[in-house]
């Protein structure tokens, strides 16, 4: 037998807690995605990058359970650098459709690096509103805030002097959907 408060069904006939009974912060689902992708070359970008600027580093699909929940997207650190002085500021951004969820730069002084070879370590940690209960693709894109994004390197090194880097350098992205009233 379902349990109701007024006309609100808190537990259904099977005893499952229903949406109305979920408090703020109640975690509905948690999914992690991992890639070993590395990039090098001309990755493009813009100072105010749209969903087609830069280069897609990784994408994954996610289906919220509720249309009024919040979604927390966070990642491990991603090393981005250049092997010739072509850019000065790198970015990591996440999009669904054409909506930008978050953008981070984490820049340091260009002149502090030898030969102005910029590098940075970027990560995501952003909560945003659910788009509904349809499946959408979250696109993780990387690029340069200035220049053409040429000579960029992501999650690898290009030095062949030594043994290749670890065979499975992983970057992980986690989605947590939680109740937000």
């Amino acid at each position: 037998m379902a349990f109701k408060v007024g006309n609100t069904e808190v537990f259904n006939d099977q005893g499952n807690l229903q949406t109305a009974g979920l408090f703020d912060g109640y975690i509905l689902q948690c999914v992690s995605f991992t890639t070993q992708t590395n990039l090098s070359g001309t990755l493009g970008g813009a100072s105010d990058p749209g969903s087609s600027d830069g280069t897609s580093y990784f994408s994954f699909q996610f289906t919220p359970l509720l249309s009024d929940s919040d979604l927390l997207l966070y990642s491990s650190n991603i090393c981005v650098w250049e092997n010739s002085d072509s850019n000065d500021v790198f970015y990591l951004a996440a999009y669904f459709d054409t909506t930008r969820i978050s953008i981070v730069n984490a820049p340091v002084r260009d002149n502090n690096a030898r030969s102005s070879l910029t590098r940075t370590y970027l990560a995501l940690n952003k909560a945003f509103s659910s788009w509904g209960t349809s499946q959408k693709t979250i696109d993780i894109r990387i690029g340069s805030g200035n220049g053409t994004g040429s000579n960029m390197v992501v999650n690898t090194y290009l030095d062949t002097t030594y043994t290749p880097q670890h065979e499975t350098p992983e970057i992980s992205f986690t989605m947590i959907e939680y109740r937000k009233t």
Binding site: G25, Y26, S47, V89, V104, R109, A113
Partner: protein
């Protein structure tokens, strides 16, 4: 009508389960964003207290329970120096005068940088005890081990192209015990 078991309100008048009745697990999540960039002599010390350095953002948080654990984590925060007067940029989090964590990531030798101009990308990841169920501000402060040196936080002053909304984000999860 609320649903009570003994004197404990299990479900409130709106039909929402009281997190008090949940045995263990995450009972609250808050996410905070700043687009602040800082530059100049931001202060600091080798053992920074809650008055050292400069506040980057404050996170107002109200635990639901006095017995919870609180998990605070951030993404990377970039810090670089303008002249070679310090060797360690840090980010630290405080409640009242208690330092929760200081992160400095001194992972690279000075010789990696031109003129020993240091750069670092610290972040926070710490679990600590709830202070009670009143609202307090968690103060996120940045600085250097020499309080007279100019430093840059979330900023490259040498180049254009930084997005004006480039973010630093903080998340607090409350874990009921």
């Amino acid at each position: 009508m609320a649903f009570n078991i003994s004197t404990t309100e299990t479900i409130n008048n709106s039909g929402v389960v009281n997190p008090q009745t949940v045995t263990n697990g995450i009972c609250q999540i808050k996410n905070y964003t700043t687009t602040n960039s800082l530059s100049g002599q931001l202060g600091g010390s080798t053992d920074p207290s809650s008055s050292d350095g400069t506040s980057l953002i404050t996170l107002a948080f109200t635990p639901l329970f006095a017995t919870s654990k609180l998990f605070l984590f951030s993404n990377t925060i970039s810090i670089s120096e303008g002249t070679n007067a310090f060797d360690l940029g840090y980010v630290a989090a405080y409640v009242d005068n208690t330092r929760l964590q200081m992160s400095a990531t001194p992972l690279e030798n000075l010789s990696h940088w031109v003129g020993s101009l240091f750069c670092s990308w610290p972040s926070l990841s710490i679990i600590f005890n709830s202070w009670g169920n009143n609202t307090k501000n968690i103060d996120i402060r940045v600085g250097a081990n020499n309080n007279n040196t100019p430093i840059y936080v979330n900023l490259n002053p040498d180049a254009a192209g930084q997005h004006p909304s480039a973010e630093i984000n903080f998340t607090i999860m409350e874990i009921k015990q």
